[in-house]
């Protein structure tokens, strides 16, 4: 008998502005494999909203208040936000 334990981290990804209004929420819960990266968050968001998959795959993520590359490894407790459709001023 084979015992496989898959470990996941759960993140509540913050969303703002037009995106938050469109989805009628301000954060999206996603599961990411242990040792997952920012790219896994993009993929999880795309899977969660298939009609916006292209948008979420290309969406810029901030991790702990800074833009990060898709490869950056995530850790439990990281604050993740989708930073798209901005327009201050």
């Amino acid at each position: 008998m084979l015992n496989v334990t898959l470990q996941f981290m759960v993140f509540r990804v913050l969303i703002f502005g037009p995106l938050a209004r469109e989805l009628a929420c301000t954060s999206i819960a996603v599961d990411v494999p242990d040792n997952g990266s920012a790219r896994d968050v993009n993929e999880a968001l795309a899977a969660r909203y298939p009609h916006k998959a292209t948008f979420f795959r290309g969406a810029r993520l901030a991790v702990n208040h800074a833009f990060q590359s898709a490869e950056v490894p995530l850790h439990a407790g990281d604050e993740i936000a989708v930073v798209e459709l901005v327009g201050g001023g």
Partner: protein, 134 residues
């Protein structure tokens, strides 16, 4: 050389005089962004600004330092509203001091372009009448 960032609840007030040592700069620009009554083709009464902090302030400061270095500015101050700002009120102010006009103008244009691309601030139009009734 200084970079100042201020996030202000509601509309900005009148520009304050900035006290700087005399003769350090030859050009001073104050750029104000004002809420217009037309946004995306509809008449609005206000904009609501969502500011993701502390990332927004961090990035504004980073952009400010970048402009300071790149254009050799004397100082740069950024003021941005958070929350509701009515039509005709000011939501954004960029104050730049530089030795010469060329770099001050270049810095203002470039700063605003980068801000609108990268800084986590979102605006929502608030309409006079509920959507669907307009």
């Amino acid at each position: 050389m200084s970079v100042t960032i201020r996030i202000i609840d509601g509309p900005l007030g009148e520009p304050a005089s900035v006290l700087l040592p005399a003769a350090q700069f030859g050009a001073a620009i104050v750029f104000d962004g004002v809420v217009r009554s037309d946004e995306g083709g509809r008449t609005i009464r206000a904009l609501n600004y969502e500011v993701y902090e502390p990332m927004a302030s961090n990035m504004l400061a980073e952009l400010g330092r970048e402009m300071l270095t790149k254009h050799g500015l004397v100082s740069i101050m950024v003021e941005h509203s958070r929350g509701e700002v009515s039509v005709g009120q000011r939501s954004f102010r960029l104050t730049v001091h530089a030795l010469h006009r060329a770099e001050s103008l270049a810095a203002v244009g470039e700063f605003i372009d980068l801000m609108k691309r990268d800084v986590p601030i979102w605006k929502t139009a608030l309409h006079a009448s509920p959507p669907g009734l307009a």
